[in-house]
Each structure stands twice: as C-alpha cells, then as structure tokens.
C-alpha cells in the first residue's frame, strides 16, 4: 500500500515550528543554576518530537542536527551533563538553524548548510567534551573511537551527500568512496562518536542491515591507513573480512564490532524495526522494508493467537469509536474571514435600518414584529462578535519574538537588560499582528541601542546596572495600546531642538515637550549622523509612524530626560465595526465611538466660562474642562448656539478630558466603519464614515484628534 505522506507534512511543519518556539522560550527563561526539571524535559521533548517527525518524513538534515541536540538535552535532563551559558547560546542558534532548514523544506528554498554544519560541530563539541570527561573518569580509553570506517553495502542508492554531511558533523571525514549497485560505499571518519551513535544517525537514510562500522584500533596506535584510497587495513589480530581493500571495493571490517555494536539480536534481524518481548527471540524474515531503522523482532506467537481471538470477542461488545481526542481546527484563508466580516457588516447595517424603522411602529400592534427585531439585534451582535473573534489573536504572537531579540542585542551592545512582557494575552486583529512586528522591533531596537545606557553609565547615574524594557499591551476604550517603555536616558530636548534648527525645521523654545518629541518623526531626523541618544531615536521613526498610521493608529511619545521613554502605539480595537453614539449638529449627523464618551449633560449658562490661557471651559462638578463646539471645528451652521440649549458630551481621550458641545444626542448604534481615506481623503478630526440605517453617510469622529485640535484652538484663543 503506497501512502501519500505529503498530507501530513504540512502538519509536521506547523508542529515543528511550534516545538522550536517552545524550545526557544523555555531556553530563554531557563535558570542556569537551578534549571527546572520540567523545563528541561519539555525542551528535550520538543527536540525529540522534531527529530521523530523529521526522520519519519524523510528530512535527514533536520533529523541529523536534532539528533545531536536531543542527545545533549537528554543528558542534561538526566543530570549527566551540566548546563552552561554557552550551551544555551548554541541551543538557541541550533533552533535558528533548524528553523532555517524547516523553512527551506517548506518553501523549497535552500538552507544555509554551512550554518548547519557549524552548529552541528558546536553541538558535537559539547557532547564530546562530556564524553571525554566520562571516559577520563572511567579510565576506559579504549572506547575512544578516533577513527571509524563506515561501509554501506552495495545496493540501492541513497543520498550520498546527506551521509557525507551527517558524518562530517561527527568529526573529520578523511575520505569517502561512492558505491553503487555493485560496489560498496565507504566512508572514513575521525570521530569521538560511538559507532552506535553513527549507526543511529545513518539509519535515518540507510537500512540498518547495510551499515557496517569498523573500529580500526591501529589508528589509535598511529598506524594510519593509507590516505586517499579511502580504506585501510587493520592489524591481523582482528578478523577482517576477506574481500577487503585490494579489490577496489574499498572496505574492510571486523566481524566483531566490539562492545559498542548494537545488541546481537539487532544484527540478526534484518529488515525489521520492531520487536516483541517474550518468550524467546525468533527472527522473522519479513519483506525488505524501506529506509527505516532496522532492528530485531521477537514474536510472541503462541500467546498472540488466542489473544487475537479473544479481542475479536471483546471488540464486538465495545461501543462505537469515539471522536478523536485531538484538538480539531481548520485553517481558513484570511480572505474568507474578511469576506464573512464584510457580510456581517452589511447585515449589521440592515439590522440597524430595521431597528430604526421599527421604532416608528406602534409597540402594541406590532408586538411580534418588534420582538423579532429585538432578537435579530441580539443575534446579529453575537454573530458579529463571533466572526470578529475569528480574526483575533493574542499579542503574544508578536511579543514572543522579543525575548530572543533583546537577549541577542543586549549581548551585542554589552548592556544588561531585563525584558518585561505585560498583557501578552491581549487580543487584537490578526491584520495588526503581522504589521505590528516591524514597527515594534524598531522601537525595541531603538530603546536598547539608544535608550538604555551601558551598565557603568547607569551606575554613575545611580540607577541599577540592569535596564528594564517593558512591552505592555492593554485595551483602553476603543483602542488597543502597545507600549514600549524603557528606564533609559530619555530624549534630550535641547539636542532635538538643536538638530531641528540644523535642519531648518521651524522650532521655538516655548514648544511643549510632546511637540518636541514629535520632531523625531520628521523624515529629516532619520538620516542624521548618529549622535547617541537623540538621533538614534530618529532612525526610521518616520517609517514607524507611517506604518502605524497606515493601520489607522497613532504613536505617541512620553519621555523624561534621564528617567526613560515610553512609546505608545494606539490602534483601533477592531477594524470594521464599532459602537457609536450618533449626535446632530445642524443638519449633520456624526458618530462618536462609545468608548470615548464619559457622560453627557445639559449645561447651565453660568457653567461656561472663558478663562485666561485656557480658552472656553465648562465647570463640571468643580472640574474645569476645555469646551469645544463641534460646529466650529467642522464649520457647519448649528441649530442651537446657546450652550444651555444644546448638549455637552464629556469625552476622554489619551488621558485628556474634553467637553464637546453639540445640538442633540440621537441614539446608540452599531455601525460598520468605512474607510474615508480610500474613498475620499483624510479629513482632520474624522476617523471614518459609516452608512446609517436610513442610507445617510455619517462621519465617525476621531476624538483624540479633536482633542488635539481643541488644544490648538484654545492656544490660539489664548
């Protein structure tokens, strides 16, 4: 029966990638002094699973590297080998190499074989060091295998290069002779690895029965085989297969493979890869089996027959097969989900249209109709939430790459950095996840490179030598906020201003800090010559801002010189649908995202005042808030001009409260956000547009931007 393995390979790729990620995250948090045994087990299992899968699916290169890694990890978890810092580095790099090989297989591209070779030899070095220690301790020098002759019996061809590669990973490959259907393949390796180990590795590519490993004791005593011919003779006291060397087949081996050879049973049983215990060995001559590890088998024939008969009886009484315990999931293209989301959006519009129409109906006469509309509303909302949640992913998908990045970068910069991840489970749209990675990486790099000082500098400033970098994600109103905060040097106002003047950007000393910080987003700053903390911050910041803005988000900076900086990225929580309050100004209808609204009130005439330096303010229970009139901002004629005749809505955005004067409050809606920029152009103070139930287009207000505008206005007034 031929089985198409390709269908399982995709699953294996995902699985292996997951295992690699697990491995990396555990390695990064592993304590060197007291490694948690469960962590060690988990890393080992990850490597082990990758190896098993790789071997099963025929990725010998992957299996080769993982095999050595797994062995090392196994010995570490069994406390046979101490864990060292340099090992973790090499393990992490092995992970990278494996990832590279994996993507190469997945995409059909070429993996960096040199890197693979390098990492294999590093891993092997650790293994050998420990082997050497063990050997020294046990005084069993004779088991040290300096040279091995590996012969693969003539027959079906295999991946010669892969074998050469695998052997090279174990030591120095002195020579190799390619064989064929009639000639044997011969490889000569100087290695510390045991023949068993090499057999295990090779068995991934070649049948066990075809591999013969010989141990030229003479090589230890300096009697090297003649180089270049790829074979050698061994001392007479060792039985050598008669046909060796001279006839050009180029091999020679001992019939006796010393202690390191596989157990006797294994040698006898060709073509199998399994075995049964009890009662006594009985070798079966099964059909030749393809490239799998070959082992013995003993069958429990006598007992098996009645057992089989018995199970026939029992199985009849057993209930139907259960559903698989494995978690079931399907992969769907993002386009399909988007399409679904669009349709739900349209449904939401239709639904709100119905709701609006139904409001005019007599509740007594149309009771059934109205309850139906109510139910539709609930169902629509639930449907929409479900569809939205399909696209939601925890931000840990982005954050997870940073422990490694920070570790590597800190090492490179000789800085001590502690990374804190907060709010990793905060969910956001998958579309953002992918696009966030680059800007965040940029901000993190900047923080490490230019924000956090060198340990000596920090000590001189009275700080702890270890800097802290915090990545935090949280929901705030209708936004998700992602912060990159450091306790480093902070931005230098004077330097930024000087830089701006140098570049002929109009600045004044009276500018507020936040206005100054915005300067580093100017494209001009990015190409500046690197002047430590300031200019470094500007490298590519214009690109970062553009990326964030393209997602409908905003980036803000808060910084204090000598204390640290925080870059906050604000993104809309959802891409498509929002809860809004509709308000009217003159003939126009606007929508305010519900999340920004704190309350609405009808002001008394004496509550609105004009204060020097603050412009128009409103007294809300003793708190004076700047008051902006929407009709002034959008320049539309209002129906009411007296504040006490209209309504004031208290909004909060980015920690700032502001009061907004409007004509009237209409009601709460769930609306589908349509991008204004793609359909028209960017309008200041407007985040997007929507189609109301009655078919009218309404603007969705960008509250945070309105707050900024209002601050500009009040300053102008002042």
């Amino acid at each position: 029966m031929a089985i198409d393995m390709s269908q399982f390979i995709a699953v294996f790729f995902d699985e292996a990638a997951e295992h690699l990620a697990t491995m990396e995250s555990i390695l990064l948090k592993l304590s060197l002094d007291e490694p948690d045994s469960e962590d060690l087990n988990a890393i080992f299992r990850a490597a082990h699973s990758i190896k098993g899968g790789a071997a099963t699916f025929g990725f010998t290169d992957l299996a080769g590297v993982t095999h050595i890694l797994e062995n090392l990890l196994d010995r570490i978890r069994k406390n046979e080998l101490g864990l060292r810092a340099d090992m973790i580095d090499v393990f992490l790099r092995s992970g990278d190499v494996l990832q590279d090989i994996l993507s190469a297989h997945r995409d059909g591209s070429t993996a960096d074989l040199d890197a693979a070779k390098e990492i294999t030899s590093l891993l092997e070095k650790f293994a050998n060091e420990s082997v050497a220690e063990e050997l020294l301790a046990a005084n069993t020098i004779k088991n040290s295998h300096d040279g091995l002759l590996i012969t693969v019996a003539a027959g079906e061809s295999f991946d010669h290069q892969a074998i050469v590669h695998a052997l090279e990973s174990y030591g120095e490959l002195c020579s190799s002779i390619e064989g064929g259907a009639e000639n044997d393949w011969v490889y000569q390796v100087i290695t510390q690895a045991s023949p068993q180990k090499i057999t295990d590795t090779l068995a991934f590519a070649i049948e066990h029965s075809r591999i013969r490993i010989t141990l030229p004791q003479d090589m230890l005593s300096g009697d090297k085989p003649s180089d270049g011919e790829g074979y050698g003779f061994f001392s007479d006291d060792k039985p050598v297969v008669a046909s060796a060397s001279q006839d050009g087949e180029g091999y020679g081996f001992f019939t006796d493979i010393a202690e390191s050879a596989p157990p006797p049973a294994d040698i006898e049983a060709d073509g199998e890869g399994y075995g049964f215990f009890e009662p006594r060995p009985k070798v079966l001559t099964g059909a030749a089996i393809s490239s799998a590890l070959v082992q013995t088998m003993e069958v429990k024939v006598e007992e098996l027959e009645p057992q089989a008969a018995k199970s026939k009886v029992t199985s009849g009484a057993v209930a139907k097969s259960l559903a698989p315990a494995a978690d079931t999931s399907i992969r769907v293209s993002v386009e399909k989900v988007d399409q679904l989301l669009n349709l739900v959006g349209e449904l939401v519009i239709t639904q709100s249209m119905l709701v609006q129409t139904a409001l005019n109906l007599d509740p007594v006469i149309h009771e059934n109709m109205l309850s139906g509309v109510g139910q539709l509303e609930r169902n629509t909302r639930e449907l929409q939430e479900s569809v939205m949640s399909i696209r939601m992913m925890p931000i840990s998908f982005v954050f997870s790459r940073f422990p490694r990045l920070v570790r590597d970068l800190a090492g490179k910069l000789n800085k001590k950095i502690e990374l804190k991840l907060i709010g990793e489970s905060t969910e956001l749209d998958k579309g953002f996840i992918e696009k966030l990675s680059d800007p965040l990486t940029h901000l993190v790099r900047n923080s490490l490179d230019h924000g956090i000082e060198l340990p000596d500098e920090r000590i001189a400033k009275g700080k702890s030598p270890t800097g802290t970098l915090t990545l935090r994600a949280f929901h705030q109103g209708g936004n998700i906020v992602i912060e990159v905060a450091d306790d480093g040097a902070g931005l230098n106002r004077e330097r930024i201003l000087a830089k701006a003047r140098e570049r002929d950007i109009p600045v004044s000393d009276s500018m507020t800090d936040s206005e100054v910080w915005l300067l580093i987003f100017e494209a001009g700053f990015s190409t500046a010559a690197q002047v430590t903390d300031v200019s470094g911050r500007g490298v590519g910041m214009d690109v970062v801002r553009r990326n964030i803005q393209s997602m409908g988000g905003r980036i803000e900076i808060s910084s204090m010189y000598g204390i640290g900086s925080t870059m906050s990225i604000r993104l809309p929580l959802t891409l498509a649908i929002l809860d809004g309050m509709s308000i009217s100004v003159g003939e126009e209808i606007y929508l305010i995202p519900l999340a920004f609204i704190i309350e609405s009130l009808q002001p008394r005439p004496d509550e609105v005042k004009t204060m020097a330096g603050k412009g128009r303010v409103i007294n809300v229970r003793g708190e004076y808030l700047p008051l902006i009139a929407l009709h002034e901002i959008f320049n539309v004629p209002p129906k009411v001009t007296q504040f006490h005749e209209g309504l004031v809505i208290i909004l909060e955005a980015e920690g700032e409260k502001v009061a907004m004067f409007v004509d009237d409050l209409l009601g709460q809606h769930q609306v589908v956000v349509k991008n204004l920029e793609t359909n028209y152009r960017k309008v200041p103070g407007v985040a997007g547009a929507t189609i109301m139930g009655d078919g009218h287009v309404a603007f969705i207000l960008d509250v945070a931007q309105l707050v900024h505008i209002s601050q500009g206005l009040t300053r102008a007034v002042a």
């Binding site: 029966m1 089985i3 393995m5 269908q7 399982f8 390979i9 699953v11 294996f12 699985e15 080992f44 299992r45 082990h48 699973s49 190896k51 098993g52 899968g53 071997a55 099963t56 699916f57 299996a63 295990d200 991934f204 157990p263 294994d266 199998e272 890869g273 399994y274 075995g275 049964f276 215990f277 009890e278 079966l284 099964g286 059909a287 089996i289 393809s290 799998a292 590890l293 082992q295 088998m297 069958v299 429990k300 007992e303 098996l304 057992q307 089989a308 018995k310 199970s311 026939k312 029992t314 199985s315 009849g316 009484a317 057993v318 209930a319 097969s321 259960l322 698989p324 315990a325 494995a326």
Partner: protein, 121 residues
C-alpha cells in the same frame, strides 16, 4: 467487526499518519495526545491494541503501559511502544512495564501495518 487500535502520541503529524495508515488498512482507530488521555480513552472503550509513544508531556508511554497493564481490562491486550530510543535499556524498561513489543521510529507505514497484523491480525 474491525479491530480497534489506540494510538497515543503527542505529535499530531505522527498521530495523523498512524491513524491514516491504520484506517486505510481497515482498522478502527482512537487517538490520544498524551498518556493521561490515552488511559482515559482506553478505559472508555476496550481496544485490541495500543500503540504508544514514549516521550510525552504528562504521562509517558511506559507509565501508560504500566497503568493499563495493572487493570483487568488490559491485562493481556497487546501494547507496543513506538520509540526513537532503541537502546537495550529502553527495551528492558518496556519489557518490565509490560509492553508486548517495540517499534522504532521512524517507521514506515508498511512496517507499521506489518507489525500490527502480526499482533492482532
């Protein structure tokens, strides 16, 4: 009635392959992704053969075999270890735990079926 086989492995790809292979040969298959779930499955429904991986989170293969062997339900049901570790020590442990036999990974589908046929026909 088709023979029922329980396959326990934490690797979804390997498990899928085993399941596919066995099903295409006409066996009934139930799966579990670790030892604990394997024991649960085995207790829920009597199976004719258990194929288990050794290294799994939670409960490993040897413990699974020991646990089930101790129950009257699985006193004499064939249990095979699917393992990458083919060392004598591992075989001894398998034998002590009560395994019927072992099958080394990587295995190919043909060989898997061959072994299964030898055990339960």
């Amino acid at each position: 009635m088709a023979k029922k086989i329980l396959t326990v492995d934490d690797s979804a790809s390997i498990r899928q392959m085993v399941v596919f292979t066995l099903k295409s040969a006409g066996y009934d298959v139930v799966e579990a992704s670790d030892g604990n779930l394997g024991v649960q499955q085995a207790k829920k429904t009597q199976v004719d053969l258990i194929l288990t991986d050794q290294n799994m989170p939670g409960m490993d293969g040897l413990t699974l075999i020991k646990t089930l062997r101790a129950t009257p339900q699985y006193k004499s049901t064939p249990m095979l270890m699917l393992t990458t570790e083919s060392s004598d020590a591992m075989k001894m442990q398998g034998k002590t735990a009560g395994a019927t036999g072992w099958l080394v990974k990587p295995f190919d589908p043909q060989k898997l079926l061959e072994v299964v046929r030898k055990v339960i026909g």
